[in-house]
């Protein structure tokens, strides 16, 4: 399964903010952490803000913070803000969709969709943070590597 770029950015941002819910983190810090475009991240954060999952705080120490319930907000809650994941979808324009074979294929593919939805709806932000904690630490940045371009100028995950 592949998620769209905006969806992946949203999950990373939510996990970063929820990992330290008491603090405010700037978009630049999140972008740096995950090597993503600040501009793209800002759009994603606006969508997350409208959904009530993050809150933007203004001022000198402004930034973003997670405002959901980490035990109740699931991956599916985040993903469906950005894409139509695992829906049965309208395949009526696909070749052969109205044939018996097409209908049988639709039933099989619906099994995948059901399982995907069930899995994503069962993994909360808190569970994801637990899984993150089980991963080995990220490798330290290579000091000999060439300096990176300013964030926002070189999106690594184009829309």
């Amino acid at each position: 399964m592949r998620l769209q770029t905006a969806t992946r950015i949203a999950i990373h941002a939510v996990l970063e903010l929820a990992s330290d819910p008491g603090s405010q983190i700037s978009a630049a810090q999140i972008a740096e952490r995950f090597d993503i475009s600040v501009n793209h991240l800002a759009k994603v954060l606006r969508t997350l803000g409208r959904a009530g999952l993050v809150e933007a705080l203004r001022g000198v120490r402004g930034g973003y913070r997670f405002r959901g319930n980490a035990k109740r907000v699931t991956l599916l809650d985040i993903i469906k803000l950005f894409e139509d994941i695992g829906s049965d979808g309208d395949d009526s324009r696909e070749p052969g969709s109205h044939t018996r074979e097409g209908r049988a294929l639709r039933r099989v593919l619906a099994e995948f969709d059901d399982t995907a939805r069930a899995t994503l709806s069962s993994i909360s932000v808190a569970t994801m943070l637990m899984l993150v904690g089980q991963e080995p630490p990220d490798p330290a940045p290579d000091p000999s590597a060439a300096p990176r371009a300013p964030r926002g100028a070189r999106p690594r995950w184009p829309a």
Binding site: K71, D114, M130
Partner: protein, 158 residues
């Protein structure tokens, strides 16, 4: 043996997890009915006969706060079903709705897993309805993930 568990939030009194006794039947029926909206007295009476008499490898645990039962978990050691080596199966967990989000389910899960380990098995399993994200989320939060089996079924039309 009853074991005292500190509540993770430290906001409520300690919980005691103990083996169920025959006298707990009515409480379990009521807890289950409170959660599912369906009273299944005959079913739980049969389950008590199977699980509450101390048979080896069968565990029916009650969580008590003070003198009040606030949750339960049920499981057993099963072996060689579909070629699976011995493992702990959890088939029921229940926490009174008003007691949720205080770590009680985790206390029950840890307690039954400790008994599974003591019985010599290395895996805990369960089976869940796909349309019950609350319970599935709970087990996911305990570190459970998809296992090597997949459940299939067929409608037996007349």
């Amino acid at each position: 043996m009853a074991i005292m568990h500190r509540n993770p939030t430290n906001a409520l009194p300690e919980v005691v997890v103990r083996a169920a006794q025959p006298g707990d039947l009515a409480t379990v029926v009521a807890l289950d009915a409170e959660t599912t909206g369906m009273e299944k007295a005959a079913y739980w009476k049969e389950r008590f006969t199977w699980y509450v008499n101390g048979e080896r490898g069968r565990f029916f645990l009650i969580a008590e706060r003070g003198s009040e039962a606030v949750g339960f978990i049920v499981g057993e050691i099963r072996a060689w079903e579909f070629g699976s080596p011995p493992g702990g199966w959890i088939f029921a967990v229940n926490v009174r709705p008003a007691e949720r989000l205080h770590g009680l389910g985790t206390v029950l899960f840890d307690a039954i897993c400790a008994r599974f380990r003591k019985a010599g098995v290395e895996t805990a399993r369960t089976m869940l309805a796909k349309d019950d994200p609350l319970v599935m989320s709970f087990f996911r939060s305990q570190g459970m993930r998809a296992g090597p089996f997949i459940q299939l079924e067929k409608r037996l039309d007349s």
